[in-house]
Symmetry: D2
């Protein structure tokens, strides 16, 4: 299939879209991004890369990083992780703390903030130098030593992250945070500040298309674990638009408020997009259009 | 792949399981079923059938029927249907009416009771003789004229279906039921009382493995519609165990409190199981074990 | 104290108010009422009556009637009633069914719709001819045989009372309605359709100012029961404006969507107002102003 | 009325009760209290004092202090306070953060934790030395310079107060905390650690029985403000047992998890009790019994 041609065509079409969305403003540092940025990159199962636009420029991957802490935590504690976090979709953006209360401090899944905080807590418990060690892990996944945190973004989030602080304290009150709340939050805000390009994202997430093996074919996850994280990304990767994404695109994936999206077709490819404008559900507006057009044009969805 | 051998082996193993679950008791007529019944049937994409146990005995398919009313409603009103029902998972079994209130009478998806009631209302509006016409539609899907309602079950549900009556009245109060509440409930209880065997279920659901075409290759749905219903089944087909099912099994599917489950691997196969004992989430206990073992042994999940 | 002078003065002032509210439209028959109607009546502990405006014209008392079914039910089953209904405020108008679900079919208090439905169910169980017998009971309380149902209003509510039908069915599903749902709803809609004037209301509610004895000094309730219903009216008598009413007026009382309000100062007086325009919380706009001014001017609140 | 005789008789009876409840354990320092402690004190409107048992021994007044910060905040900012906190009962102990989310950071009332945190924030904004200034204010109310914080209790709460930290951060995220979260929490934990005896409590709360004037007849509140706080105490002073307390006792009041309760009959008296064992709703078990018996025996309730 002519991936390069298709990607260039979709890039050209979607760039004209009038539904460009709005850049996230609640994290001051993120609101400074140029809203015109737009990139696409696809890495096929044979490790051949195709791209268009600003595919090699790095941006704040934000919540996409939750998948990466999950991979590292699973690689350390294995299936015990699921005693502290569920695998069900959550649905509700408007009362994210409510569910946590009703369900006694067990977050619905590891891709909502509360769940990611528990995953961070696990890493803080097991890593000697959590921030450094996690960064090395991500660099190994991507086979790229240039990947780094954006300290300004981390600091900006820390200063305004009161809802995350509320969630962390609530989790602590239920005994589902074992470490100091501030230490967990500090690690969490750093994780979210990871900066990558679309190209780096496809390399980092290649293991989900490849049964747990990264581009260098090192096995980071068991095939069954990779399969399961794909299932969670499909059900829970797009906030309360997960069903909509699954319905229209039909791929496991994860989005971030920085405007990035990464999606996977097992055994076939990994694709990443970046455009900072978000739709009203908090997902990249152009990115959603790209992926919907891509699976429609190629017929390559999992359904 | 030796489907027959694999199914027989799984049948023998799972039959020994001690987690047989509990037969649903809230519908009196259903509680009379023999709890030892157990059947499996697989229909591959080439229409070859494989089975084990009570695969040819019919049972009450209950909520599995919600997918079939959805197919007929989509075939009549098309995408307008999504103005009245969402495509997001709901999650909460314990407060199913709460969400409906908060979200002003738009059910989360067509596979929860409230959503299915809206779909029934659409059919009551458009079909001349709703119960007869829907039955003919199902028989055509399955290419089997022996499929019928179980009137005793329909009556038994009507007598005890107060939660559904509550949901229907709440929907009506929001203007999302257009017909008489009792007429919609009567159709709904009949739909749920459809009786089929595992073998009939695989034929009826074959179109989801086959891009919208049934076994006779008549096209009931556009490929994109079949793909989308698969996505909804994956996200929403197993009550609040949808995430768990997606995580462990990795297939779109739908369960019913009669103990039936049907699941689909697009382009590959359709599989149905029946065992009346339910786990605490309301899904067939042995059925869940069969499907988990099947995708694990064959590696044939969508993730 | 010059009650007549104070009432006339308040009547004149409040009649000029620009916040006249909006007549309830969800019950078609109620929306036909003349919005200019406005009456006040006060009955002091010595049974002397003072009034102004349309105090002798009857209107639909609606939810005010919930206190009267409660009185009759308590007089029949005594404190056992509290096994099926709570005494706590509910607060939430926007998700009235949610609480009922979470609390497993035990309504928060007898003055919300769900609680009143349970009280009606008790009367349907114990009265030979519920509608007739309850009407006689109310006439005896008021010592007035002209009081009657407004059949048109009852019918109008029945045709549009889907939320109440939802609540009744949900209660039935939890086993907290013992009779046929339709029979209970029919009685409930009749109860709500009771028509009275402000003058009749003060006579009917006189027993709450007088330790359970009505104007003819017949004892309908034990003093402790009258005291307790006063406590419930204070906490729960004004939907989600109960706290506000208690805060600003400081009297037990009950409002109805027909625009009536009745309030009580134990050992001192009973006061009723009527003006059909409702504020955004569903209570009579002018009525609230009258009562706030009355307790402020006279200093006669319970706090 | 022979208050002394009645109080001694009730003391003797209730001391024999087998429903002594359980001492609060979630604040480690509080769990060390002798569970046998039991005292009652009544101060009548003529400032005559009557008591029994451990009425002069000081204990941690905990949430009772919320009324006192409210008095000081009202005395500084007046009715503007109600822009940031409501006056409606909240009802739900099990999901206290949910309501806060749904209602966008405006706590239901100033006597729940979230509301008290907002009141504390107001004092932190307006007082030069919040902890010292508030202490002086309380000492002036009680005309007693020996009243003080219990620093050990304050520290113990700080170490375990994760739910309060969650609430404070959630309020901050909605912009309803203006100061540093930690500063507000520090003040809040100190306020809760105030230690008083029953005798001191009756003197401190005397102003609510006396139209806003304390025992030295200094006017701390307008009569209308005192009346309104009484209304709030009645509706909201006993967690989700407020309705029950109003129903059985019929007095405005406030309880604390230290086992103290204070209640007021305007124009008549102020009464305080202390017994550390709590019932399952979090209110002092013996204290509730004392007050129920007291209003039943004397007939002195507000209803």
């Amino acid at each position: 299939m002519d991936f390069q041609g298709i990607i260039e065509e979709i890039y050209a079409t979607v760039k004209q879209s009038e539904n460009k969305g709005t850049v996230a403003s609640y994290i001051p540092e993120l609101s400074k991004v140029n809203p015109e940025k737009f990139g696409i990159c696809l890495l096929d199962i044979n490790q051949k890369s195709y791209f268009a636009g600003d595919a090699e420029e790095s941006f704040s991957i934000q919540s996409i990083s939750k998948v990466l802490t999950l991979v590292q935590a699973l690689s350390i504690v294995g299936e015990d992780l699921w005693k502290r976090v569920g695998v069900e979709p959550s649905g509700d953006p408007f009362n994210f703390l409510s569910l946590l209360e009703l369900e006694k401090g067990i977050p619905r899944n590891p891709l909502i903030n509360a769940g990611a905080l528990v995953v961070c807590d696990i890493l803080v418990s097991h890593l000697k130098n959590p921030k450094e060690d996690f960064l090395h892990f991500v660099r190994a996944l991507a086979n790229d030593k240039t990947i780094d945190y954006d300290k300004k973004v981390a600091l900006s989030e820390k200063r305004t992250g009161f809802r995350n602080a509320a969630a962390a304290n609530l989790l602590k009150s239920f005994g589902n945070i074992h470490n100091d709340v501030d230490a967990v939050l500090d690690f969490y805000f750093h994780q979210c500040s990871l900066a990558m390009s679309c190209k780096q994202l496809t390399k980092t997430f290649f293991l989900f298309a490849n049964h747990g093996q990264c581009t260098q074919l090192h096995k980071f996850l068991q095939p069954s674990q990779a399969k399961r994280i794909n299932a969670i990304m499909l059900s829970c990767g797009f906030y309360d638009e997960a069903g909509e994404f699954s319905f229209k695109v039909g791929l496991p994936g994860k989005s971030g408020v920085g405007g990035g999206i990464v999606a996977i077709h097992p055994d076939k490819y990994c694709i990443a997009t970046w455009s900072p404008g978000l739709n009203h559900k908090g997902n990249s507006s152009l990115g959603m259009q790209v992926l919907e057009q891509f699976t429609t044009k190629t017929g390559l969805s999992i359904f």
